[in-house]
């Protein structure tokens, strides 16, 4: 717990992104498993511990110190966890601190009623910074200015690899991430994703400027409508089928009919829409379906979900991302025909030549209930992120 609390303390004060990466990479390099994996989960918001409420913290500290002095101190400090950490009577400086891994497993294994006593004994064993870190860890939300992306960048820095490699495996990983760290330590190969449905980072489009629009040649680009839904990825591998949002959040539970329909092995890119009959419903209707862990049959029949497919990244185990869009588009059409997938269709290619003035089209789209247009160079591979040159919207 000591290295972890020192890390949180340093991160709290560090404003520079580069310096944060240095601190995190140094931590991942020097701290053993499973502690560093648990720290990684905590920093990326993937550690689901039972929350300790402010009421519990107040109860713990009020049995230890004068309530009048506590209230004056709290007024001055302004943060319950920190005031408690600072005022908690120090028992001894020489006690051995609990390890982060031990703390985690004990919390997971104990009953909720036993937690306050457990926390109290740990608070006794640590110093102010350790107590503060533990209370923050249990309070849900560390707030030390580290995003998941920053944590991944630090892992990449520590493993001396590109961050996209981390992104590739990220969604196949689980606490305590020992296979990830073994790989980054250089001891093993990259974690296998053979049986996992993993998220492949998406290719995104750059907004197009009017000037650039006039320079677009119809022979070089595919033109598609940009539908007003949410960008998703369907990833299926053996027994696992997943629907991911643009950022890689697993939204499978909210759309069981899509998961059921996705009877294939591969990775497809598309737009999630609500389609009633043949009409595309509004984004508002789509919102009825978002962020639900369970959906009723009624909700499914009232707001049926549909994926309009844009691209194919994997056909079976074959990675198609290196091929150009012309090739991938053909493979997508083939794939779709072979599988006959319900609740899905393929995004229509728009004939360029009938639209003499692209910029007019760009603006008039919105009146048609579309979000805009997408321009994809026929010759371009599928590259994660927002590459330039790449797609335009």
């Amino acid at each position: 717990m000591k290295p972890f609390s020192d890390l949180l303390d340093s991160l709290l004060y560090t404003s520079s992104r580069n310096a944060k990466v240095v601190l995190l990479a140094d931590y991942f390099k020097n701290i053993p498993d499973p502690d560093r994996g648990i720290a990684l989960a905590a920093l990326t918001g993937n550690l689901n511990l039972p929350n300790v409420t402010p009421t519990t913290i107040r109860r713990l500290i009020s049995s230890k110190v004068d309530p009048i002095l506590f209230s004056w101190s709290y007024d001055f400090v302004g943060d319950l966890a920190e005031t408690t950490a600072l005022m908690w009577p120090s028992v001894s400086r020489d006690l051995e601190w609990p390890r982060l891994g031990d703390i985690y497993s004990k919390i997971i294994l104990s009953r909720k009623t036993e937690l306050p006593k457990l926390i109290s004994s740990w608070l006794d064993e640590m110093d102010e910074t350790g107590r503060w870190a533990l209370l923050k860890l249990m309070g849900g939300g560390l707030r030390v200015g580290v995003s998941a992306r920053l944590a991944k960048t630090s892992l990449a820095e520590f493993g001396n690899i590109d961050v996209t490699e981390i992104e590739e495996v990220w969604h196949a990983l689980e606490l305590p991430f020992d296979d990830l760290f073994a790989w980054l330590d250089g001891k093993t190969q990259r974690p296998s994703m053979d049986d996992r449905a993993v998220f492949r980072p998406l290719m995104l489009a750059n907004p197009i400027a009017d000037k650039e629009l006039s320079g677009i040649k119809p022979d070089d680009y595919a033109l598609e409508w940009k539908w007003d839904g949410i960008r998703v990825q369907i990833s299926c591998n053996g027994a696992e089928r997943k629907l991911f949002s643009r950022t890689g959040d697993d939204i499978s539970l909210s759309f069981p009919e899509i998961i059921e329909a996705a009877d294939f092995k591969g990775v497809l890119d598309g737009e999630l829409l609500i389609v009633k009959g043949k009409e595309i419903a509004t984004f508002n209707d789509l919102q009825q379906r978002l962020n639900r862990k369970k959906v009723s049959n009624k909700l499914i029949s009232d707001f049926p979900a549909h994926v309009r497919l844009y691209d194919i990244l994997f056909d079976g185990d074959e990675d198609l991302r290196q091929y150009n869009f012309a090739h991938r588009r053909l493979r997508l059409e083939q794939f779709f025909q072979e599988k006959t997938l319900s609740n899905m269709d393929i995004s229509e290619l728009v004939d360029f030549k009938i639209y003499k003035d692209l910029s007019n089209l760009h603006y008039s789209c919105r009146n048609l209930g579309l979000e805009g247009i997408m321009l994809k160079p026929w010759g371009g591979p599928y590259i994660a992120g927002r590459p330039k040159p790449g797609w335009f919207k």
């Binding site: 303390d9 340093s10 709290l12 004060y13 560090t14 404003s15 520079s16 310096a19 240095v22 601190l23 140094d26 110190v65 004068d66 009048i68 002095l69 004056w72 101190s73 001055f76 400090v77 302004g78 943060d79 920190e82 005031t83 600072l86 005022m87 120090s90 102010e128 503060w132």
Partner: protein, 341 residues
């Protein structure tokens, strides 16, 4: 002799603490006829008094800060040397705060009052340690008078700085430290930890560092921060330690340093939100004031039945002192400034 209670001969005025039977002020905030000064910090020592009584070291500090002619009649006394001012006998005892800092012991008609000024109990090799003196009334500061303030060992805090230098070896570490006392203590602590490289100091620190060296405090090699052209970073400072007053760190001055790690050494750094508000990258809890425990340790050691509490968090100290059996009350003074600690 009729014993006179201290509250009958000491009072608080607009200008500061006044001792009637000696006709002098202690640390007054405006120019007076006779001023007895506890130590050289700006909120205690001011220029323009007709007669100034303090330790030789404090007078030397005032000379550095205010010039040769800060007072027509400076009068230095050694620690322990007794001096009668009209009807009051005074003597000075080390307070452990900064070089030359003193508690003022006042004896009048059978009672003894100790005005502690600012003090600390932690070890500091740059000044003499606080010496407890038995008294009837102990007048204490309460800068860190809340139980959240417990200063860790300064040595441990310095280790954090050295670790950061290892980790960010191509960055410059700029330490914000008050020019009198804190800066020299930081340097001495670094030297004790075996840091032998030259330490760069802001111009505002030079004279006081020289004065400490003249008084036998070994600070090792100190160099001025090289002047670079406007907005140009100075590459020589990469991986070096620079000391500067806190005001310089908030100023344009800091822009001349290469990718600085901002370090602040102060007791306030104990509170994380405070450190964050000041954009500190590395807070060091190093203070020249007594922390919560040291305050009460001191009250017990001086054995004073009465404690008068001034500048700081009076209410919490009074509350706790009363619980511990002292008769404690607030001594209301004005003009003390939190930023100088």
């Amino acid at each position: 002799m009729i014993r006179r209670k201290p509250e009958e001969w000491i009072r608080v005025t607009k200008q500061g603490l006044f001792v009637d039977p000696g006709n002098f002020f202690i640390d007054p905030n405006t120019a007076t006829d006779i001023a007895v000064i506890t130590h050289g910090h700006a909120d205690h020592a001011r220029s323009g008094h007709k007669k100034v009584i303090s330790t030789h070291e404090t007078l030397a500090i005032m000379k550095v800060r205010f010039g040769e002619n800060h007072s027509p009649l400076p009068y230095g006394i050694a620690y322990g040397e007794k001096l009668k001012i009209i009807d009051v006998v005074i003597w000075l005892v080390p307070a452990g705060h900064v070089l030359g800092s003193a508690q003022i012991v006042l004896e009048y008609k059978g009672s003894r009052v100790v005005v502690s000024g600012d003090y600390k109990r932690q070890k500091d090799t740059t000044c003499l340690s606080f010496a407890p003196v038995n008294c009837d009334v102990f007048i204490t500061e309460a800068t860190f008078g809340l139980p959240v303030f417990k200063h860790p060992e300064a040595q441990e805090e310095i280790t954090k700085l050295l670790r950061s230098i290892d980790l960010f070896s191509d960055r410059c570490h700029v330490v914000g430290a008050y020019a009198l006392g804190k800066a020299q203590r930081i340097i001495a602590l670094l030297r004790q930890k075996g840091y032998e490289r030259p330490i760069y100091i802001h111009g505002a620190l030079k004279n006081l560092c020289d004065l400490y060296a003249q008084n036998g405090v070994d600070l090792g090699e100190l160099l001025p921060v090289p002047i670079s052209k406007k907005n140009q970073k100075n590459p020589n400072l990469e991986g070096q330690i620079v000391l500067a007053p806190p005001s310089a760190i908030a100023d344009r001055w800091i822009r001349r340093l290469p990718d600085p790690v901002v370090v602040m050494a102060s007791g306030w750094m104990r509170i994380k939100q405070r450190a964050r508000q000041r954009n500190v990258d590395l807070p060091l809890v190093i203070s020249d004031h007594a922390d919560w425990n040291e305050l009460f340790q001191t009250f017990h050691e001086v054995g004073a039945p009465e404690i008068w509490v001034t500048h700081g968090r009076e209410e919490a100290v009074i509350h706790q002192a009363n619980l511990q059996g002292f008769k404690a009350r607030a001594l209301s003074l004005i003009g003390y400034d939190e930023d100088n600690v």
